[in-house]
Symmetry: C2
Subunit: 208 residues, 2 copies
């Protein structure tokens, strides 16, 4: 406990906050906090995946948030005194937690940190906004296009499985969509990498 773990934490965290940080390890299915508990910490996911879930009366559950390595989790707990959902690890995970009091104090006192923290949240927010717009798209091909336009080419070391999950598609559907886009000349695949074709078949934008 109470290890200082400078490496995995965001670089903009002031030393004063790092000293207050403590590490938590969770098994798959382990709980980080429960609905109704008093908010004491803000969490940063070093590795693994955390879920914020709310349970339905019939035993099923609704995932409200999902955070993976390098992301903050349940940031909105900053604003409220009690958690309104449960936090569970989707797989074995390592978390660093910061006392919410210390975070608030540091935000209020350290302008440079406040700016960086707001910046991190702005970046996360932009990513989620883009995902929302992408998931609103119905056709698999159009989601793939949207991703390539907004996020750039897919790295060669990425697994298509994970990409399918990011796109809200089943892997088989993604494979088929990629095959069609490649046949249509809209994308180019080099090994596992995928990028938009430089010269798409449809009407070009400006030059004739």
């Amino acid at each position: 406990m109470t290890d200082a773990l400078p490496a995995p934490l965001p670089p903009f965290l002031p030393e004063a906050l790092r000293r207050e940080a403590s590490a938590v390890a969770l098994q798959r299915g382990g709980k980080l906090f429960h609905c109704g508990e008093r908010v004491s910490h803000i969490h940063f996911v070093v590795a693994g995946e955390l879920l914020a879930v709310r349970y339905l009366r019939d035993g099923s559950e609704a995932v409200m948030q999902r955070a993976r390595g390098g992301e903050f989790f349940a940031q909105s707990a900053m604003l409220v005194p009690h958690y309104s959902c449960d936090a569970r690890a989707a797989c074995a995970s390592e978390i660093v937690r910061l006392p919410v009091e210390a975070l608030r104090d540091t935000l209020a006192a350290d302008g440079r940190f406040a700016l960086a923290f707001a910046g991190q949240m702005a970046a996360d927010l932009r990513r989620q906004c883009t995902r929302v717009e992408r998931l609103r798209i119905k056709r698999a091909r159009d989601r793939v296009r949207h991703y390539l336009v907004c996020e750039g080419p897919l790295a060669a070391d990425a697994r298509l499985q994970d990409w399918a999950h990011e796109l809200g598609l089943e892997p088989e559907t993604l494979y088929r969509a990629l095959a069609e886009l490649e046949t249509g000349g809209e994308i180019v695949r080099e090994g596992r990498a995928v990028r938009l074709a430089a010269n798409p078949p449809a009407a070009p934008s400006c030059a004739g």
Copy 2:
């Protein structure tokens, strides 16, 4: 120009920032900024709807962000010197813009404001995270359930059309899903209001 518009702006904005604010009105289709332009302002949507779009080479477009009345827009511009997309009004809109320099300075100088601003972004981020998880759900019925669990009952004065759009469904699909859920006893409809049934048909969670 340079109107101070205290009413529509978030209450936590310091007076110093309000004095720097200027109002902008846009027709449907009007551009707020273009890809490549230098970032000068952060925008707050008073009324209407703004889109951040990136154009594909074939003339179609990808929406990256969407902001409606009461929301900030293109917050991530805080972090970068140039816009990487175009901003267009989806309908006639009123915007208040804050010079990014002034915003940065105020964030760094005014701790209370920095905390509130970060809080606003945390709340927006939570909302988007929940939407992402909801849109990942494939079946219409399950999306409706997720919404009611995470966001609470639907107000009686809401239009089902707007709700369908929020859920990423066509109105007809939502009507059918609601009919099925009501027949199944999972939800109760009182006029236009919709809420989860107090006593669902499936197995209860704790008490027998």
